[in-house]
């Protein structure tokens, strides 16, 4: 299956951009109707599948990005010597969860929910590219707010924040605390505070 001119142009555009591109921008640059963008992306993807290409167009937060299929992750990681995504520590996962469900939020909000200083943890999430600055809030001291990034979506394999699992209800959370869902971990002492 061969690409149409416009599909090839889309490929070139996404290849050059690297980062996710807004459909409006795509429509503008390719001089096509905005409504035609998803179709064009599908076309490109079909073609990649037909030709057993390693590439795929993915959608992240409504924007389009050219990426390597997951099956080829091993060979790519070896090539770019990118460190494999180190598993996130428990504190980092807690902070990330708080930011993901409440964004945009400040460090002190994260700290309030966790009950411990969380500045370092949030900084490490920023360094990992999972979280980014989202301007300042109009509060005393003008604190910086944080939000999750496209990389966050990619690392959790979801297309948009809507796909995050629903927050547990108050009742669930209360009963979890009571019957000690976390208990076993505590007994054998592998809480793992290190990042």
């Amino acid at each position: 299956m061969t690409l149409t001119d416009k599909a090839a142009e889309l490929e070139a555009l996404l290849f050059a951009s690297g980062d996710p591109v807004d459909p409006l921008k795509i429509a503008d640059l390719l001089q096509i109707d905005k409504g035609a963008v998803p179709q064009l992306a599908d076309k490109l993807n079909e073609c990649y599948t037909d030709n057993s290409s390693s590439l795929a167009v993915i959608v992240l937060g409504g924007r389009y990005q050219l990426a390597v299929k997951k099956e080829y992750a091993a060979v790519v990681q070896a090539a770019v010597r990118e460190k494999k995504n180190a598993p996130l520590s428990a504190p980092a996962m807690e902070a990330l969860t708080i930011i993901a469900y409440n964004q945009p939020v400040t460090k002190s909000f994260v700290e309030h929910i966790r009950g411990v200083d969380s500045s370092g943890v949030v900084n490490s999430l920023v360094a990992k590219g999972l979280v980014e600055e989202a301007g300042r809030l109009d509060l005393p001291g003008k604190p910086i707010a944080y939000r999750t990034t496209d990389t966050f979506l990619r690392c959790f394999d979801i297309k948009s924040l809507d796909e995050l699992p629903p927050l547990p209800t108050r009742a669930d959370a209360a009963s979890f605390a009571q019957d000690g869902g976390a208990d076993e971990d505590i007994q054998d002492g592998k809480g793992g505070d290190d990042m």
Partner: protein, 260 residues
């Protein structure tokens, strides 16, 4: 101490410890019996007060619990109830986050779709959007008080950055010059008016270097130095003169000691 630290390291913080105690003692999180929670909590952290920095957050929570317990004993119980509800709310909220974090961590993949860096093309076309300077002022305002940055003052660092380096060669000349006049001298004499660390280190290395190439001799208890062979004395300065970088430095030292 290490043991306590280990015991607490298991927890993410005081809220985590409280959740643990609540589940361990099968307390009702929707109506926590504050008195028994305080006791259990204090028992848990009883030994950590030596290490305030580490245990600060745990101790703060202890203080809060005790405060809630205290106000609950007052005839006007509203405040106690309010604080207790607030704590219960926080605990439930934190518990929800822990649940959710566990679910999310199952979704985290260490082999995501790989993407690439944007193509690096030098378009030689810089940023061309137009802005008004008012946007700068607005950004300045958003910084709040912090924007009141003063220019970097390099003066306090001058001491560090422009610290004098005394070359070993200079000191070798200085030592030999001393020996011309006196024939021998004590190490103490050499170091006596040196206060600068760099100077002392250079002088020490100079002694070692002169000893190594046989121009001076150290006595048995390493306190006095003497010329080992006077016939070298003529050539010494010509040796050093070839060392261009050191030249001016050296002659300055010579002039100074000649005058003296």
């Amino acid at each position: 101490m290490a043991e306590i630290r280990y015991k607490l390291d298991v927890f993410e913080g005081p809220l985590d410890l409280l959740l643990h105690l609540i589940s361990k003692h099968k307390l009702n999180i929707n109506d926590i019996p504050i008195s028994s929670l305080v006791d259990q909590y204090l028992e848990y952290i009883t030994d950590i007060s030596d290490d305030m920095e580490y245990a600060g957050e745990f101790l703060e929570m202890a203080a809060r619990l005790i405060y809630i317990k205290t106000v609950s004993l007052l005839p006007q119980r509203e405040e106690g109830e309010k604080l207790k509800k607030e704590l219960e709310g926080r605990l439930i909220e934190y518990s929800a986050i822990k649940l959710c974090a566990a679910a999310l961590s199952g979704m985290y993949t260490d082999t995501p779709y790989c993407v690439r860096e944007p193509l690096k093309i030098d378009t030689a076309e810089p940023y061309s959007l137009r802005h008004s300077t008012a946007e700068l002022l607005a950004a300045y305002g958003a910084l709040g008080r912090k924007a009141k940055g003063s220019k970097i003052n390099t003066a306090p660092f001058q001491v560090i950055v422009s610290k004098r380096f005394v070359s070993v060669t200079t000191k070798m000349v200085y030592i030999l010059k001393n020996l011309y006049q006196t024939g021998e001298c004590t190490l103490k004499d050499i170091f006596s008016d040196m206060t600068d660390r760099s100077e002392r280190v250079a002088a020490f290395l100079a002694v070692l270097e002169l000893t190594r190439n046989g121009r001076i001799l150290l006595n048995e208890d390493n306190t006095r130095i003497t010329f080992s062979n006077s016939e070298y004395s003529e050539d010494i300065f010509s040796d050093f003169d070839s060392d261009g970088a050191e030249e001016s430095d050296t002659s300055e030292t010579l002039n100074a000691s000649e005058q003296g």
